[in-house]
Symmetry: C2
Subunit: 222 residues, 2 copies
């Protein structure tokens, strides 16, 4: 019942792709693109994962996680996000520096360790990017956030997360003075390119492109 580093990465990829596209089957090419390897390699691995009952696989028909596969994938996600919290909260890394390290730490195999880490961190519900941390049973507590681009003018908003986790984007947000928990208000929407003028906490006049506004998640407070 052992699972390799590589198999864990495939399961995580399938899990996140299936969520992304409304829980549909995931295609070989989607996985191939997501993991930056070739479709033929993916087919190889899908056969092995099916053999081990992590996925249901019908050739040419795409793939879906079994319950066993989902549990395994969610556990990797849980580990990834807990380690990210550790890196930011305890070791004082910036939120844009932790992803690659967590990509390694997520494969450390010890249930005792996850449990004790979770406890040490105070059982956090969200990682440094606002993503929910599933509990030990694999349950996610859904947050009802929307993209900033969909918010209405004058609504009181709180930043709850980001959709783009790239270093570039995260650094840009930090430089603009935007982080999790900050208060936003849209003052103006440019009807030509959908860019925004927003208030961040007490400061008016920050300009954000539509592309950026699509990748900031907010909760509407009023």
């Amino acid at each position: 019942m052992e699972i390799s580093f590589t198999e864990e990465n495939y399961l995580k990829a399938i899990f996140s792709l299936s969520r992304l596209y409304g829980d549909a089957e995931v295609s070989t090419n989607q996985i191939s693109e997501h993991l930056n390897n070739k479709a033929a390699s993916v087919t190889d691995m899908l056969k092995r994962l099916a053999e081990k009952k992590f996925i249901d696989y019908k050739p040419y028909k795409g793939v879906r996680l079994t319950e066993k596969g989902r549990k395994t994938a969610v556990k990797v996600v849980r580990k990834h996000r807990l380690w990210e919290v550790f890196l930011v909260e305890k070791l004082k890394f910036k939120w844009d520096e932790v992803h690659d390290i967590a990509e390694q730490l997520e494969h450390i195999n010890s249930d005792e360790l996850i449990e004790k880490l979770d406890l040490f961190l105070g059982r956090p519900k969200h990682d440094p990017h606002g993503d929910p941390i599933p509990d030990a049973n694999g349950k996610f507590y859904a947050q009802k956030s929307i993209a900033l681009a969909e918010a209405k003018v004058k609504q009181v908003l709180v930043v709850t997360g980001v959709s783009d986790h790239s270093t570039q984007f995260l650094q840009y947000l930090s430089q603009s003075g935007i982080g999790l928990g900050d208060h936003l208000k849209v003052d103006e929407v440019n009807s030509y390119d959908h860019s925004l003028k927003v208030k961040v906490n007490k400061n008016h006049g920050l300009f954000l492109s539509h592309k950026v506004a699509l990748n900031i998640l907010v909760e509407v407070k009023s």
Copy 2:
């Protein structure tokens, strides 16, 4: 200049075997036994490590780390021991529970991470088993400990480490009320089997076999 999980384990093995036997060449069979794999596999790997300049290797003549190899090995040891401190001090694992998890964590690759972890832990000098933690330059601060078996009757002793890191031995010590920093005094030596009667902190009358006394490291305080 990338190094694999497996290569790191070989370098660590060579490093610790070479220390163990007074910095001599390490033989293929020693490595094979230490890592629980076959001599033929070791020969294969030695060729690769020599190719990459981690070791000096002359067929049939044993092997020795290059400076590059030593640096790499010591870094793995440093990571291993820092993570053990983390697991015991922060996550509240017992000292006999941390070795296997550290065996995984030692391969996480990030200089930033080691540095920040070291800082977070308060730059510890010893791991939970009393083993010295090399600094970022690979320097060990030698401790002048002796085995309890070599101590003289009535000397004031402080426990500084253990030679046997097995779960069994560590649990036995814990149950006997012996841990790092505890004060010992040898009250009697049995001249037939070299077993000891010792005082632990304030309690007299603990019996220890010669075998156990060989694996407890102490510093002589007077």
